[in-house]
C-alpha cells in the first residue's frame, strides 16, 4: 500500500517555509515522485470507503440490492429525503424501516453540545489550577482524570445502568450529558493544562501585582491566549461525545437516541436498509469533518491529551 521511504534523498531538506527549489538532484525528484504515487494509492484506498458509502446513499433500493454490483446507476435523493425529512418513498422496499434521523440528530446536538459546554466550564477551571498552582498532590488529580480515559467504560456502565433507572436519569438528556463528562472532562483538563502551562508565568505575576483576582487572570489572560487551543479542545470534546456509542446505547432509549445509534438501527435481522443507512452515515460524519478541519492545527495535541505537541 505504501511506497518505500527514501530517507537518503532528504539530505538537503530545507526548512518547510523555503520549499520551492528542492529538486536539485534527479534522484531526489524520482524518490519524491515514488512517494507521491505511494501516498496517492494510500489515500485512494483510505478514502474509497467514504466514496462508496456516498455512492450507495444515492442509489435506489433495487440498485443497492443489485448483484453483480452496479457501478453506474441512476442517482436519487430518496434516501436523503427519507433520513433528513422523514419522507419515505413508496418505491423503497424497506419503507417500513423508519428511523427518526432528524430527531436523533437533535439529540446528538443537545447531548454532545451540552456535555461539551459543561465540561469546558468545569474542566478549564481545573486545568488552569493544575497549570498555575503548585498543589503538592496535583499529579494525583491529573492521574485520576487520566484513569477514566483508560478504564473500560463498561466497568461502571453496568452499575450506572441500575443507578440511572433508580434515580430517574435513565433515558434523559441530562443523564447523557452527565455521564458524558467522564469522556469530556479528562480530555479538557489534560489538553488545556498543556496550553495553560505554555503561557509565560510572568504574565500572571504582573497581573497579580496589578491586583487581578484568580478568575480575572483566567478570563482575561489565560483564556484569550489559549483561544485557539480552547476551540480545538472544545471541538475534540464535542466529537468524542458525538461519536460515543455505549452511553446512549445502554443508558438511554428512544428519547435519547443519538445519530450514531440511529444509524445502526437500519441493520435488521433479515435485511439491511443499505441506502438509508449510508445516507445516515454521511449525515453523521459531515458535521464532524467540517469541525475537525477548522481545528486541524491542534489536533495532535488534543488527541494525545497534550502529550504530543506540534
Amino acid at each position: 500500500m505504501q511506497a518505500p521511504v527514501p530517507i537518503a534523498g532528504s539530505s538537503s531538506r530545507p526548512p518547510p517555509s523555503t520549499r520551492p527549489g528542492m529538486s536539485r538532484k534527479a534522484r531526489e525528484r524520482r524518490n519524491h515522485a515514488l512517494l507521491h504515487i505511494g501516498l496517492i494509492i494510500y489515500f485512494t484506498v483510505s478514502l474509497m470507503p467514504f466514496v462508496w458509502t456516498f455512492l450507495t446513499s444515492l442509489k435506489q433500493s433495487r440498485d443497492v440490492a443489485a448483484a453483480p454490483l452496479k457501478i453506474f446507476f441512476q442517482p436519487t435523493l430518496d434516501n436523503y429525503r427519507a433520513v433528513l425529512f422523514n419522507q419515505y418513498s413508496d418505491d423503497s422496499a424497506l419503507a417500513r424501516v423508519r428511523v427518526d434521523i432528524p430527531g436523533s440528530f437533535m439529540n446528538s446536538l443537545i447531548i454532545a453540545g451540552g456535555a461539551t459546554l459543561l465540561a469546558m466550564l468545569l474542566g478549564n477551571i481545573a486545568a488552569f489550577a493544575l497549570a498555575r498552582y503548585k498543589m503538592p498532590e496535583r499529579e494525583v488529580y491529573a492521574f485520576f482524570f487520566l484513569a477514566f480515559r483508560f478504564a473500560p467504560v463498561f466497568v461502571f456502565i453496568i452499575p450506572m445502568f441500575l443507578i440511572y433507572q433508580e434515580i430517574g436519569l435513565y433515558n434523559t438528556h441530562l443523564g447523557m450529558i452527565l455521564i458524558s463528562q467522564v469522556i469530556a472532562i479528562p480530555l479538557i483538563v489534560w489538553v488545556m493544562r498543556s496550553f495553560y502551562e505554555s503561557i509565560p508565568p510572568e504574565l500572571f505575576d504582573s497581573a497579580a501585582l496589578d491586583g487581578a483576582t484568580r478568575m480575572q487572570m483566567l478570563r482575561q489572560i489565560a483564556l484569550p491566549l489559549a483561544a485557539p487551543g480552547l476551540a480545538a479542545t472544545a471541538v475534540l470534546a464535542f466529537i468524542a461525545c458525538w461519536n460515543n456509542f455505549v452511553f446512549p446505547f445502554l443508558l438511554g432509549a428512544k428519547q435519547t437516541q443519538t445519530i450514531t445509534l440511529a444509524t445502526i438501527t437500519f441493520i435488521g435481522y433479515e435485511e439491511v436498509a443499505w441506502g438509508m443507512m449510508t445516507a445516515a452515515a454521511i449525515v453523521t460524519i459531515v458535521p464532524e469533518l467540517i469541525l475537525a478541519m477548522l481545528v486541524q492545527k491542534h489536533i495532535v495535541r488534543g488527541l494525545t491529551y497534550g502529550a504530543v505537541k506540534e
Binding site: 530517507i7 470507503p49 448483484a67 473500560p152
Partner: protein, 312 residues
C-alpha cells in the same frame, strides 16, 4: 467567589518579605484545590460507582429476576472455568497484537513519508485525519457495505470480475477477526501516524545532517537516530492504541456482533452480551473486571517502560 483572594492583600504580599510570599503560595494552593472540585465531582462519583460495580460482581444480580443474593467470589471462580471467557480473552489479545503491530509499522512508514518536503503535503495531512473523525460504529457500518457477500458486495465484485474466489470477510469465521483488524487499522493508523510525525518533526535537523556527513544511509539513519529518538512518541501511541484495542466494542457491535459463531466475541462483546442480552449483570460485570485488570496490567507495563526509558 470564595476562592478569590482580596486584591489588596495580594498586593501587600507581593511587596513584602518571604513570610508573606509563603502565605500567598499557601493561598494559591488552597485556591487551586477549590478550583479542582467542580471538575472532580462526577469522576469521584463514578469512582465510587466503580466499587459498587465490583460489589455487584460478588452478588447474583439478574436483569430480569432482580438480586438473588450474595455469592462471594463464585462469579470469578466460574470465570476461570469458562471456555467462552478464555476464548474471548485470547481473541482480544490476538486482535490487539495484530491491530497495534500493523498500526505502528504502517504508521511509521506514513510518518516518514509525510515528513518529506513534498509538494501538497498539507493536502495529504488534511486527508489523513478524515477516518479519525468518523464514529467507530459508523466506520464499521461503512466497511460492512464494502464487505457484503456475493458479487453485489464491493470487494467481492472485484474479486469476481478478476475471476478470483469470493471471500466471506466478516461472515467467514476464519477471516472475521482480521477483517475487523482492517477496519480498526483504517480508523486509527492516522492517529498513530500524526503522533509519530510530530515526533519526527521535533528531531533536530543537525542530527540528521551529522548522520549524513558520517555517511549513514537512510536505513541506518532510521534505526540509529530517528527510531531511538521517537521512542517516547511510540509509547504515547501504544498507551492509547493498546488500551483502546483491548476495549474494542463499537466496531464489532456495528458489524458482526461477536459472530459468526464466537469468531469475533472479544472480551467487551462477551461481557456486554452476558450482562444485557443474557441478563446476568453480575457475571458480565466480572468479565469487565477481568478486562479492567488486563488494561491496568498493560498500562502499568507501559508506564514502567516510560520510566526506564527516561532513566537511560
Amino acid at each position: 467567589m470564595a476562592i478569590l483572594a482580596p486584591p489588596v492583600r495580594r498586593q501587600r504580599a507581593m511587596n513584602k518579605g518571604k513570610v508573606e510570599r509563603d502565605a500567598l503560595e499557601t493561598a494559591d494552593i488552597r485556591a487551586g484545590r477549590l478550583m479542582m472540585i467542580p471538575a472532580l465531582i462526577i469522576p469521584v462519583l463514578l469512582a465510587i460507582v466503580f466499587f459498587f460495580g465490583f460489589y455487584l460482581t460478588l452478588r447474583n444480580r439478574r436483569l430480569n429476576r432482580g438480586d438473588l443474593g450474595f455469592v462471594g467470589l463464585e462469579n470469578y471462580a466460574r470465570l476461570l472455568q469458562d471456555d467462552k471467557f478464555w476464548h474471548s480473552l485470547s481473541l482480544t489479545l490476538k486482535f490487539t497484537l495484530t491491530d497495534v503491530g500493523l498500526e505502528l509499522s504502517l504508521a511509521t512508514l506514513m510518518a516518514l513519508a509525510l515528513s518529506q518536503p513534498l509538494r501538497g503535503i498539507r493536502i495529504y495531512r488534511a486527508l489523513l485525519i478524515i477516518p479519525l473523525m468518523t464514529p467507530p460504529v459508523v466506520g464499521a457500518l461503512v466497511w460492512k457495505v464494502l464487505y457484503r457477500s456475493g458479487n453485489g458486495g464491493f470487494f467481492n465484485y472485484f474479486l469476481w470480475e478478476a475471476g478470483l474466489p469470493m471471500q466471506g470477510f466478516i461472515g467467514d469465521p476464519s477471516q472475521a477477526i482480521f477483517s475487523l483488524v482492517a477496519i480498526d487499522v483504517w480508523l486509527y493508523l492516522p492517529f498513530v501516524a500524526i503522533i509519530l510525525l510530530a515526533g519526527l518533526q521535533t528531531l533536530p535537523q543537525e542530527q540528521i545532517d551529522a548522520a549524513h556527513v558520517d555517511g549513514a544511509n537512510g536505513w541506518q539513519l532510521f534505526w540509529q537516530i530517528q527510531l531511538p529518538y521517537m521512542i517516547p512518541f511510540y509509547i504515547v501511541a501504544l498507551f492509547f492504541r493498546v488500551i483502546d484495542s483491548l476495549n474494542i466494542f463499537d466496531t464489532i457491535y456495528g458489524t458482526t456482533k461477536g459472530g459468526p459463531g464466537d469468531a469475533t466475541r472479544v472480551l467487551a462483546v462477551n461481557g456486554f452480551e452476558t450482562a444485557f442480552p443474557f441478563f446476568n449483570l453480575s457475571y458480565g460485570g466480572a468479565i469487565f473486571v477481568a478486562l479492567w485488570l488486563l488494561c491496568t496490567v498493560a498500562g502499568s507495563l507501559l508506564f514502567i517502560w516510560v520510566k526506564r526509558s527516561q532513566a537511560t
